[in-house]
Amino acid sequence: MKRAVPVLLLSLAGLIPVWRYEPSLGTAGAAASEPAPASSSAGRGTTVRGSNVQTEKGPVQVQVTFEGSRITAVTMLRQPSHPQTTAAVPKLVAQTLEAQSADIDTVSGATITSDGYRTSLQAALDARGA
């Protein structure tokens, strides 16, 4: 778990601005940490609960599941009940980067220049359809 905890803290740092982000309020409330993270192991994955963090919208707590040092799921255990913030809580999933050569209709990517285009999949798709 020594490796997992810093990752968890980074995840919290990434998620908390979502509640903080509230343009109409304009003030950032002080966040106070409560008990230290607790962890448990079930099967292959390890589940870690983050601290209960107080925000101006209410308490926030996340649970992160790891396989080894890799995050496989992030779940909200506690979130503010304010309707705007409830709607704003995203659920994120971590996974490994894959390189596929799948059957596709088109490609999304930063294919902004013609140089990039020539080497891109989209050019191949266009050639196939022509």
Binding site: G14, L15, P17, V18, Y21, P23, R70, A87, A88, V89, P90, K91, L92, V93, A94, Q95, T96, L97, E98, A99, Q100, S101, A102, D103, I104, D105, T106, V107, S108, G109, A110, T111, I112, T113, S114, G116, Y117, T119, S120, L121, Q122, A123, A124, L125, D126, G129
Partner: protein, 237 residues
Amino acid sequence: MGFPVSLRVDDGDVGEEGADAVFAWLREVDARFSPFRADSEVCRLDRGELARDAVSADLDEVLGLCEEYRVASGGAFDVRLPGRGLDPCAVVKGWSVQRAAGLLRAAGARRFVLNAGGDVVAARGPWRVGIRHPGRADRVCAVAELTDAAIATSARYERGDHIVDGRTGRPATELLSLSVVAPTLTVADAVATAAFALGADGVPWAAARPGCEVFAVTADHRVLRSENFPAARAQAA
């Protein structure tokens, strides 16, 4: 703002006029909104030759979107960076291609996929849209299945560090690639660019935008996506 445009229309009875209207409109957009053309409306506004309240309704709409996303991103997305000219390209692209899709529908097209420089509007569907692998131009790292939706991708691999975090004035480098699926390309493109400028914080930020799903590749080659991102099941390579 030159970028390749691909169009596939599956309605057999739609003639060439729909495609002609799309390309004429995109040429018009380039002439009017390019920051690289001295006589464009954007450049004339930037030089003060055109008053803010005298701009066209189209440019007024674009500038309104730019301001909306500047505020929403806490200043990370900003089309008026210090020391640089006004550059609304990131919003103009999605906005103009979404309108091009409207021109296709007006011409009778119902089932089509319009890809402008990697930003895609999918009409009906499902269409399988690959997300380019950030390290390999000939591979995708995911496939999104889209029906009446749009996807835009901001990334560092094509033009290098060209997206600047307006809060710091420095290039955004925490992500390699970030894609946003949204109901319209206007929203998808603006959210993808703003989220990329926000860096790692941009992933949950984009996921929290109404109607948006996000798929991001971080600088350490890991994927972080929103739970409901419409990813198709991977197929064997």
